[in-house]
Symmetry: C2
Subunit: 397 residues, 2 copies
């Protein structure tokens, strides 16, 4: 008997994947340009030129034994220091290299963090809609994921819902902002109220509840007045899980970090837990070349104006066609209300118009579909008549 849970996880394809595979087939049938595949969250903008230049410079001018050798398990010291200094300058924190742990990307940041803090049966609260792997990661670490619905219509944090979910077993609250799949950013008020609630519940219970912020989309915000609060400035027991996958368009290279807030009294214990969990899960060190890369380009991003262009075009067109859209502040996702109660049926119908949209059911937000607009601006333009026709098809009924 193998490990049944992992065999199952290896066999079930996510419905996002299914849709993507369907899209590949369909493109072969009717042509690449005639299928509007909004299924995957794969950056469509290339890494900035500085990435290519830095990679070549590093490879050409570094002793290969040093370059490709093991770094310490928590990552190269100077890389961690560079990132800590940058965070401090940007968010007025006072982190040191010893608060940072370099990881193989966001998924690793999360699994390591969860394994550091969870004991069997502990609960992790997250806000729906949410990235479905949160459940997989939490359960692997022995915990249970409790999803609470976000605010109806805006998908901000609904503090009343959160309040009901807090329990003596709550060990962490896991947030993701800018959010996948809604594109919503939790603003200062959201975070302040969330933190107040966590404090009010945990203090009289003598509990330690950690706030984990999953931030692969932090840099992908499009409007000057959109601020993504840095949770360390709101709550002591906070841990930031970061990845360069989306900001630098390097998702396949697996590079990110965990930052443990050194304002919490037990930060050294938490950091030791991170080191131990990384070790137990088989993370020896984050890819060394890409650690060195990050040291050079930590403050750069891909050309995210393309995503903004896509968002603006799509948003105004969809609203014009009569869709109800949750206004996306960031990431490269848009959450749109389905034109019939069952979003899965709606997404099926969209396929008739060659539109590949993911039903919100996958994110525990039924009644909506997700549009991943990390595609070419040309495809956005080509897809608009299909969105219009889809909307019209409901009007004519």
């Amino acid at each position: 008997m193998l490990n049944g849970k992992n065999v199952y996880l290896g066999k079930v394809r996510s419905s996002i994947r299914e849709l993507f595979e369907y899209g590949k087939k369909r493109k072969a049938e009717i042509g690449e340009d005639n299928v509007f595949d909004f299924s995957l969250g794969n950056p469509s903008v290339p890494a900035p030129a500085a990435v290519r230049e830095a990679l070549i410079d590093i490879i050409e001018h570094t002793d290969p034994v040093a370059l490709h050798g093991y770094t310490s398990a928590q990552g190269d010291f100077s890389v961690r220091k560079t990132i800590a200094d940058y965070i401090n300058a940007r968010f007025s924190t006072s982190l040191t290299a010893d608060n940072l742990y370099m990881t193989c990307g966001a998924a690793a940041s999360l699994t390591i963090t969860l394994n550091a803090i969870l004991n069997p049966g502990d609960e992790v609260i997250t806000i729906a809609p949410y990235f479905p792997e949160y459940k997989v990661f939490t359960e692997q670490a022995g915990g249970k994921l409790i999803a609470v619905a976000g605010k109806v219509g805006t998908f901000g944090i609904d503090v009343e819902n959160l309040k009901k979910a807090l329990s003596p077993r709550t060990k962490a609250v896991l947030i993701n902002s800018p959010n996948n799949p809604s594109g919503v950013v939790y603003g200062e008020e959201d975070i302040s109220l969330l933190v107040k609630e966590i404090k009010e519940y945990s203090k009289p219970h003598g509990m330690e509840i950690y706030l984990i912020s999953d931030e692969p989309y932090r840099e992908l915000v499009f409007d000057k007045d959109t601020k993504v609060p840095y949770i360390m400035n709101y709550y002591e027991r906070s841990i930031v899980c970061y990845s360069y996958s989306k900001s630098l368009s390097l998702p396949g290279e697996r590079i990110g970090y965990i930052a443990v807030n050194n304002k919490m009294p037990e930060w050294e214990e938490v950091y030791a837990g991170v080191c131990g969990a990384g070790r137990a899960l088989g993370y020896v060190c984050a890819p060394a070349l890409f650690q060195q890369l990050v040291k050079r380009v930590y403050n750069q991003t891909s050309n995210i104006s393309v995503y903004k262009l896509n968002r603006d075009r799509l948003l105004s067109a969809l609203e014009e066609y009569g869709y109800e859209v949750v206004k996306p502040d960031g990431a490269f996702y848009m959450f749109v209300k389905a034109l019939e109660p069952d979003a899965k049926r709606f997404a099926e119908r969209a396929k008739q118009f060659e539109l590949l949209l993911v039903a919100g059911d996958d994110f525990e937000a039924p009644g909506y579909v997700r549009i991943s607009y990390c595609v070419s601006p040309q495809m956005i333009l080509r897809s608009l008549p299909a969105f219009k026709a889809l909307a019209d098809s409901y009007k004519s009924v």
Copy 2:
């Protein structure tokens, strides 16, 4: 309360690490060249020139969106096919791309494999001396590691000891050849007897016992007549965990693979378990650039003749000085009998001669020390008088 086990793992430094840190301090005191640090297993030979050339060529001539994008979770198809074809040509197997899963190196290969096959309480048998992280990885996956002593003096597989350890809870036997820390290669006779024993025990019990071969040192053998048997040709239920860390001197880049023998009836289930375990542990895909690199240089190695030179010089000198050495066939480790019963005391005494050796106790083989000879040939020469003086210090007592 954090996860106590992982906090503990993050706090305890391995004694190998301790020794390495001691070495760094000592070098600062008396000079780099006067300390003979044989503590760590870090390749000292640079990656072959082809690695640098291929990396630059790939970076310069590949669309960055494709190059740095996600590959499929199991790895890029063409990379897996290239490796499968290479294994087939070399070992007369008939693997396909769908039997291979690209990983972030050997540690990930092991944690993923163990999480794929183990259920809580399952036992994994390994042969001592063994790499200490085997215990950490097995326990993280919910299993229990049972170490059986290798043959006295040669550290080959002792089938009688193995026989006693087999139980209804045995789910896997985990071998490592060429071996860390002994440098011993399990030859054809070792493997044949091991497999016979596993079959004889599992068949009447109706059990499925997997043979896992951890092979980061496969390419590091020095003599023409040393053959490292390919376990898929001896046993159906076999899984190979491979890494390019040592063969290509890329330990920090985290690239390797798992190969599931397609001769076993349930290979698709095992492979699904591997995919699921990888997913649950947070391994999204192996670093994409290094997957492409492997596709170009899969059949190359660093200049391992340096390790052979080191081995030969050290072996003949130590034997001349009166040490009893386990003949190392491969890897870059040498196991030497301590000159007093307590190897830890022996290793402490060696420090007086500026020799940093790791006591075998860490590998469940007390009475011996490990010498990691992945160092410069000059350091080997410089260290010889110290080894002689250490031996002499016992004679004069």
